[in-house]
Subunit: 467 residues, 2 copies
């Protein structure tokens, strides 16, 4: 005997946008089976009877039944009518949030890594998008060159030659999703060519070292002194990851004789330098130092991105590779992701061509210089005797506090308690731990680009009050 529609316990919401009455009925029935309101084995009304009950055409109901039979929710057998399929529906799964909790987010974060997202040029970006979408040929929306759109590679080549002294050729540029993506791609290619060890700087980001290691490369730290990374440590190595224009996080610019020595090492041994030019555009007191790549494009793989100059969320960067690596890199790029989103590329190409990128960099340069000055002044005022280094460039400084502020663990705990997030320099050492002889000293990597001068002063003041 068939139950009347109402007792089936089905909520029938017809969604006009969702494909009309038949779609609405299908969704409602499917939900009822899913949630267990229609138990396995339940016999449904005949399509004729349900249609009459609901005031629908019989074909509509028969169609919905057929769809759900096709999907496996219902079964239809000669003589036994339409029934809910005899397969237990699993209980709704629990859904823990795999990201860390946001509660307890600090009031002030002096953690480096982000530019000022509030100064992202939304209006100019949108204008570039309008022009790019109006002008792009249809095939710009299809699967494209794995290196990226030709107009973006051409615009990048011009910009990088002019602003960073990079020796460029649009054919050798690969558009990437940022430095991590480029490092991963290069590490895989180099591993496939037999590389087993990547020399790295003694200071840097653990996430980068891990990336190379996941591609099968051991990492080995190079000696580091006041002049930066010492190229003498490169003997026996075949590849090195460097931040020559502005060492991260120490802020040192690799000295001319060391730049020359690194390139000489690469030429002599056939080695490769991976140049991470992560914030080379930002130099406050003089002109930016040109990229190392310009000294010998066949021995340097050069990477940059918009993560510090525009916004990390764009996930847009570039990689310029020596000729002998180009084919391998492009082939692997093609197999791993079929290229970077093409509309974004067309927009950024316009943005570059129209001079918007230069204007944005100049605007940020002025703002960040002011912020840096505010930070340096606030540290001098609230932490008398602090040494501040790496101030010439970039989006962060190194602050070494007098010993009386130590030990570091206690300092960090108190500052965190006051709602200020800071990063100790020890987090950025290849071998975790303080510097020899400065075990007790508190050394911090302090980012300032993302905060207004007022918030910088307030954050530093709060930090001083807490300790």
């Amino acid at each position: 005997m068939e139950k009347p529609w109402a007792t089936l316990g089905i909520d029938l919401h017809l969604q006009p946008a969702g494909g009309g009455v038949r779609r609405g009925l299908t969704v409602a029935l499917r939900d009822a089976v899913r949630t267990g309101r229609l138990a396995p084995g339940t016999r449904l009304p005949s399509s004729r009877s349900l249609a009459t009950d609901l005031g629908l055409a019989r074909n509509t109901v028969a169609g919905a039944y057929a769809d759900l039979v096709a999907e496996g929710w219902l079964t239809a057998r000669q003589g036994s009518g339409t029934r809910v399929a005899d397969r237990p529906v699993p209980p709704p799964a629990r859904h823990p949030d795999p990201t860390p909790s946001r509660t307890g987010r600090p009031a002030y974060s002096l953690i480096p890594g982000s530019p000022d997202l509030a100064s992202f040029p939304r209006t100019q970006w949108l204008k570039a998008a309008r022009r790019a979408l109006a002008a792009a040929p249809n095939d710009a929306l299809g699967y494209g060159d794995p290196r990226g759109r030709a107009e973006l590679r051409t615009a990048l080549a011009g910009y990088l030659a002019r602003a960073r002294g990079v020796r460029t050729d649009p054919d050798r540029i690969v558009v990437s999703a940022g430095f991590a993506h480029a490092l991963r791609l290069l590490s895989q290619v180099l591993h496939a060519r037999g590389l087993r060890t990547l020399a790295v700087e003694s200071y840097g980001l653990d996430v980068h070292w891990s990336l190379a290691e996941r591609a099968g490369l051991r990492t080995r730290p190079l000696p580091f002194d006041a002049s930066g990374t010492d190229p003498d440590g490169l003997a026996g190595e075949r590849a090195v990851l460097l931040t020559p224009s502005h060492q991260f996080p120490m802020g040192v610019t690799l000295r001319p004789e060391r730049r020359a020595a690194v390139v000489d090492w690469a030429r002599r041994t056939g080695g490769l330098i991976l140049e991470d030019d992560y914030d080379g555009e930002f130099r406050y007191d003089r002109q930016p130092v040109g990229a190392l790549q310009g000294l010998d494009p066949e021995r340097v793989a050069y990477t940059g991105s918009v993560s510090k100059s525009l916004a990390p969320g764009l996930r847009l960067g570039w990689l310029m590779v020596p000729e002998w690596l180009a084919e391998d890199v492009v082939r692997r790029k093609r197999t791993i992701d079929l290229g970077h989103p093409s509309v974004d590329q067309a927009v950024f190409a316009r943005f570059l061509e129209r001079g918007d990128y230069d204007r944005q960099l100049r605007r940020c340069q002025r703002a960040y210089r002011e912020r840096r000055d505010a930070l340096v002044a606030a540290l001098a005022e609230h932490f008398p005797g602090a040494e501040v280094s790496g101030i010439a460039a970039g989006l962060h400084v190194i602050a070494t506090l007098p010993e009386r502020y130590g030990p570091q663990d206690r300092f960090l705990a108190r500052v965190a308690g006051a709602g200020v997030a800071v990063r100790p320099l020890s987090d950025c050492r290849y071998r975790p731990g303080g510097d020899p002889g400065k075990a007790a000293a508190v050394r911090l990597v302090v980012g300032y680009a993302h905060l207004s001068p007022g918030r910088i002063r307030e954050g530093v003041r709060l930090m001083a009050e807490a300790v």
Copy 2:
């Protein structure tokens, strides 16, 4: 003795947009060293003398010299003045184009895989971009949740539940760069959990099988018959890649009893089904078949993308994973690319929320149905006796031509000579080669969505004339 400026052979172009006079001088000198116009060891004029010569301030010239010394192009030694660094500059590298030549591109391509790029809704997309950029908080431009933007995952969950019968939870959606990206991510995660073999369909895309293999998985094809892939072949397997709603390329919809059998296999054995729902939205003669995932979200990892519905160039897709896989997938996603571009995500979320996606699908559905009908009619007219199958859904059909058109190699050569690109079905077999008993028959996978009805008719006519 210092040479006068003019004889140094330097082209000094001052670029107003490039940072002023000092920048222009630096660029010109660097180029002169690079190109060899200033030979290694050449002594440069003193800064005072060159400044007088050029009518510049002495500091400007001294600054440019200092920059180039810092970059390693010049050397400055007490008593010996400023000289071009004594390191040979390598000759300019040759730059072969690593992509295949575009010459000889066919006049008509009936290769499947692309939607109609001309119907990409540029105006609506730009409107969505304007709204998204106006509304997005600043932190939308920063490093975000590796799963993707919450508003997009929420909008996708609603859409997929409604349109595809997917059992959704925004927390379990991961925004991807399309199916290949999702398959690679899943293959790596499954390999890390001990999987060594992935069962696949006997027909599909070699590029997908290769992707899984590069992640360390062997692939093993399942038996295939007129009802599609036979789940009996799953005994002993732990994971299977399927296109259940619309087998690629054969066009079969997996029958209800086989859908049930696959899910039962997965439940019984703890196996995983990777559902590639690549064109599930497009079904012409009845409502789309819902996703297999809805039958058991804990045993199915579901993937889809905008590559067939909007444009492959957006590189935007989604992956919905069972709870027991979610943490591994999110962790690996975080380490490989730090998430998908966030502005694109915000735009697509708006596009979905505003109903633009539904409207676009309906528009395409009408257009593609007309194109399919044109193709079927043209094949009937120009290739009498051809069997056309897989016409109920998707963006392509299978055409089996009468034996008199064979053998296939000769057919393909003649058609290519006439400027028509077609894909033989044998390209999509796991084991290359024709079907047993049909060795001589020509079987083609013919895409139609990207061509107007007129061009479809013309392409088929040309093909018929050629053979």
